[in-house]
């Protein structure tokens, strides 16, 4: 290629040069034109898009979590409240090697193996990009140490957070319940209810008890702050702010001291006690023993504690008062007697001869007292707890009449108490058996129903509601634990109104007979020993239920089988007899006779409630007690 350029002619040379220069000028104009086009595209065509992006960069909507409502008893004793503490939180999404990060943090703050386990559990449960606490309740010193090293941990921050605390611990674990971190299922539910926006920034939600059933009242309304943030996410200034509205306080009908007396009265026995004010349905004490420490759940329970609680043979997580179902045993008898009177099957004076057994079509039903009680009228049948009397009565009435009558008292139906998780129980009837087992009812099955055995299974709450209804002359109230909801700003109180469900169709003279007999029980009958020397007139009925332990998905635990086969002790009572202020039902699991194990607990509760008497150490009767009769 001979491309030697001849540039001898000066004018030609200038011409060529200027041509090139013109080409360069054209090129530059084109490039600037390109830039101008780009500017028009960005700043006119797509301006709105970028404007939106810039605003999104600039403005951050920060939710302000409201304070959760406080729960206190009828006397203002705090059962659940909040305290502020500093937590060390990691955003796992921003971390490559969590283990190493935690190890580095452990050089600054105390991180126990328990904290690590808990964190790992939280990590498994959370899918989103939220920050998770590795440590809660940092000390001042730990905060200072971390603050000095903060630059090393861009994915870790200290946050001041409100924590829920349950100062009375296990005493109220089943009734107050607890809160825990919101899980996916609860999130879905919130979404379905359209409440997600109000839960922005909220990590916790009521899981059980009142914390769960009154969640909507306790939570409050989340506030919003619009803040201008810089590229580091630091708030530069506040643009607008709508403050949160604190959750409402709950004031309960419960009496904390009474609850404590009742709880302690169980000693180390398992069981449940529900005490109700008959004239209002207000629950005074609601005990399920054993309890557990609800505070463990607040920060997310660590697997070790969880396993302990979950696998304990005592099943502390089961709310026995609400969802445990038990045969009522002889506590069923006064209701049976009332049914007999109401349906005209018995008169108070009508007597039977009790030989100690009842023969039904060749099958012999034994009385718990060999030899029987001889001549027995209605009063004696209750006071001394005759089985034969009620075998006969049940036989005379038939199962469906029994079911119809007992349904009025709420047996076998949810009471509608303001805590969720209530069990239905079983009020047996022909229809029930057909539905449940696709089998016909056998007349022989009616016999043991008469003494509160057989298919009978009720919650302690149902039993307490029934005796309260009886004490209240047949006017039945829906039991409730919350007395009123208090708006924390306006101090406005919204009462959970006493709700008379129905007035039972019972003649007053019939009721008087039964009440008289119940007084007799504590005066001269199976409850007399437990109530000896009480400074008030009380009414009660003992019961002993043969059973197979708690029915809540019982696991076979060998070491405890023996004890679990023992009878449950029951007692129902109200006092003072002429103007009942309190009615209660007690069950002591696998302990034995109701008169010996359940009645003394009831005595302590009534003594405290009516006389303000502090309990003394529980005294147990001797084995050769006079009341083998139930």
């Amino acid at each position: 290629m001979s491309v030697a350029v001849e540039l001898r002619n000066s004018r030609l040379e200038i011409y060529h040069f200027r041509l090139r220069l013109a080409i360069a000028a054209g090129f530059m104009l084109a490039m600037f034109g390109l830039l101008a086009a780009r500017f028009v595209y960005l700043q006119v065509v797509k301006h709105e898009h970028y404007q939106t992006l810039a605003e999104a960069n600039r403005i951050s909507i920060v939710p302000i979590v409201p304070n959760r409502g406080i729960i206190s008893d009828r006397n203002g004793v705090v059962l659940a409240h909040n305290y502020s503490a500093y937590t060390l939180e990691i955003t796992p999404d921003k971390v490559d090697d969590l283990e190493r990060l935690i190890n580095e943090l452990a050089t600054l703050v105390d991180i126990t193996p328990k904290d690590r386990r808990r964190f790992r559990k939280l990590l498994e449960e959370s899918k989103n990009f939220e920050s998770l606490p590795i440590r809660t309740r940092l000390s001042e010193e730990e905060i200072a140490r971390f603050a000095a090293n903060r630059y090393r941990f861009p994915s870790v921050e200290i946050n001041a957070r409100l924590f829920r605390q349950y100062p009375r611990g296990e005493l109220f674990s089943h009734v107050v319940g607890y809160i825990g971190r919101i899980n996916q299922r609860e999130l879905d539910q919130l979404e379905a209810d359209g409440l997600v926006a109000n839960y922005r920034g909220t990590d916790y939600i009521g899981k059980t008890g009142l914390e769960q059933s009154y969640e909507r009242f306790l939570h409050g309304t989340t506030g919003v702050e619009e803040v201008e943030v810089d590229s580091g996410g630091r708030a530069v200034r506040s643009i607008s702010r709508s403050p949160p509205v604190s959750g409402n306080n709950l004031v309960l009908t419960l009496d904390a001291k009474l609850q404590e007396v009742a709880y302690r009265a169980f000693g180390d026995r398992r069981g449940a006690l529900v005490a109700i004010e008959p004239s209002t349905g207000g629950v005074l004490a609601f005990v399920s023993k054993p309890g557990f420490d609800p505070n463990l759940f607040v920060d997310g329970i660590d697997p070790q504690n969880w396993n302990e609680l979950n696998s304990s043979a005592d099943r502390p997580l089961v709310n026995r008062a609400l969802s445990g179902t038990y045969p009522p045993g002889s506590t069923f008898k006064p209701f049976m007697a009332l049914a007999g009177l109401t349906y005209g099957k018995r008169t108070p004076q009508q007597t039977i001869s009790d030989p100690g057994y009842f023969n039904f079509g060749g099958h012999v039903f034994h009385d718990s007292r060999p030899g029987g009680l001889g001549t027995v009228d209605m009063y004696k049948s209750i006071v001394k707890s005759s089985d034969t009397y009620y075998y006969m009565l049940a036989n005379d009435m038939g199962i469906d009449a029994i079911a119809k009558f007992m349904a009025q008292f709420g047996f076998g139906a949810r009471t509608g108490i303001d805590v969720t998780g209530e069990a239905v129980g079983v009020l047996p009837s022909q229809e029930w058996k057909m539905r449940r087992f696709q089998q016909k009812w056998f007349a022989g099955e009616t016999i043991s129903v008469g003494i509160g055995q057989g298919y009978n299974a009720y919650t302690p709450l149902q039993l307490a509601t029934a005796i309260a209804t009886l004490a209240n002359d047949g006017v039945m109230f829906r039991p409730r634990i919350v007395d009123y909801v208090e708006d924390i700003r306006t101090r406005e109180r919204t009462a959970v109104e006493p709700n008379p469900l129905r007035t039972l169709d019972i003649k007053p003279e019939h009721l008087a007979v039964i009440k008289q007999a119940l007084i007799g029980v504590n005066k001269e009958g199976t409850g007399a020993r437990a109530f000896a020397g009480a400074g008030y007139v009380s009414a009660g009925k003992t019961g002993t239920a043969q059973v197979i332990g708690v029915k809540q998905g019982e696991k076979y635990v060998e070491s405890r089988v023996q004890e679990h086969l023992r009878d449950h002790a029951l007692f129902i009572a109200y006092a003072p007899a002429d103007n009942p202020k309190i009615a209660l039902a007690v069950i002591v699991e696998n302990s034995g006779f109701g008169a010996r194990y359940a009645a003394p607990i009831a005595r302590q509760v009534l003594d405290y409630y009516l006389l303000g008497k502090e309990p003394r150490p529980l005294k147990r009767g001797k084995d050769e007690d006079d009341d083998a009769g139930d």
Binding site: M1, V3, A4, V5, L7, R8, E13, H16, F17, R18, R20, L21, A24, A25, M28, L29, M31, F32, L34, L35, A36, R38, F39, V40, L42, Q43, V44, K46, H47, H49, Y50, Q51, L53, A54, E55, N57, R58, E228, V229, D230, S231, G232, V236
Partner: protein
């Protein structure tokens, strides 16, 4: 005005080109304003830049007063000195932010690649002028080698921005010197063919920047962050901008390097499309004046030098604004006369000084 004062005034302004001087002054004033905003009203930074500007003016004035034929004499020694320093950098240079660009002379540290921005076009213009009468293809080959060696050294540092500017200035000299279209086409083909090889030579971060240009969203918090945020700044500026000191992207720290390479994002956010077009027009004015000076320059040396200076200035402006608005990859090229930083300011004003010298000394030379 007395004749004495007029004579003194004449002495200072004799070699100053009014159009170039006026636009440079205007751009610098705008630059100070934008810098004030971009630095969050950091007066130390603004006054520091003001000092840089005074130095730059001094350099410009001095260069304007040096007759072009003195510059021709300096061309080769300056080029050789620059090469020597570049070699020294490659061997003993200090590493700052992962790049070996600085040479520690004991008293002060210098960045020899900056010197080459002027030394390369100067040397090439001198070379073509010297062989003007007998230019052959071989001369172009020599020129290409003179250009390629310093570029290779600078790419290795690595300093892609400076390498790009020097490549551009060198190429402009070759182009204006009449490099055959066939050779240009050949070079273009060879360039495209060697792209895979060039790709393999690039550092990872350089490759990433180029990839990011096509899809900034693939790495929004890494290399794509600059482009995404500066594009948002430009776009959200709209027709008339958010107003001086009111750019949210700027003042909430979303634009990285907003006083230096990305200062155009600040300007564009606060003054909008209107401001951008005014800026483009101003740049065009000074470029157009440079082209006129080039066209009327008396010798091949001055023509080539003036053309290279003007086109290089264009390259600065185009590459910077292109990168900020997201149509070019991110390379370290400042917005001329606006970005904070003394070195670029001085080297650009030095170029304008030479341009003025060429414009005002031609009559003397011609006579």
């Amino acid at each position: 005005m007395t004749p004495a004062i007029r004579r003194i005034g004449d002495y200072f302004t004799r070699h100053i080109d009014g159009v170039v001087f006026g636009t440079v002054l205007g751009l610098m004033a705008a630059g100070l304003m934008v810098l004030f905003s971009a630095s969050n009203a950091n007066l130390a930074r603004v006054s520091g830049q003001l000092a840089n500007m005074l130095i730059a003016f001094g350099v410009m004035w001095a260069c304007a007063n040096i007759p072009p034929h003195y510059l021709a004499r300096l061309a080769l020694p300056l080029y050789l000195l620059g090469m020597l320093l570049l070699a020294a950098v490659a061997l003993f240079g200090d590493v700052v932010h992962g790049a070996r660009r600085w040479l520690d002379l004991g008293i002060t540290r210098i960045q020899p690649s900056e010197l080459m921005k002027i030394a390369v076009p100067l040397a090439l213009a001198w070379y073509f002028d010297r062989y003007e009468a007998t230019l052959r293809l071989g001369n172009y080959a020599v020129a290409v080698v003179m250009l390629a060696i310093p570029i290779a050294l600078i790419v290795r540092q690595p300093d892609l921005g400076t390498a790009l500017l020097i490549t551009a200035s060198g190429f402009f000299v070759l182009f204006l010197a009449g490099l055959s279209w066939r050779v240009i086409a050949g070079l273009a083909v060879a360039g495209i063919a060697s792209l895979p090889f060039a790709w393999s030579v690039l550092h990872d971060y350089q490759r990433q920047r180029i990839l990011t240009l096509f899809d900034p969203a693939q790495d929004p918090l890494g290399t794509g962050y600059h482009t995404i945020q500066s594009t948002i700044a430009v776009g959200s500026g709209g027709l008339f901008g958010k107003g001086w000191l009111n750019g949210t992207q700027t003042h909430l720290d979303f634009i990285p390097e907003r006083t230096t390479d990305f200062i155009f994002a600040v300007y564009s956010e606060e003054f909008g499309l209107f401001g951008n077009l005014v800026l483009l027009a101003t740049f065009l004015l000074v470029i157009g004046r440079g082209m006129m000076i080039t066209a009327n320059a008396p010798t091949l040396f001055t023509r080539l030098l003036a053309g290279a200076i003007t086109l290089t200035f264009f390259t600065y402006a185009f590459v910077n604004m292109g990168m900020v608005s997201g149509i070019l990859p991110v390379v370290g090229v400042p917005l001329p006369l606006i970005s904070y930083g003394g070195t670029a300011l001085v080297s650009i004003c030095l170029g304008f000084g030479i341009l003025m010298s060429i414009a005002t000394h031609k009559k003397l030379v011609q006579t």
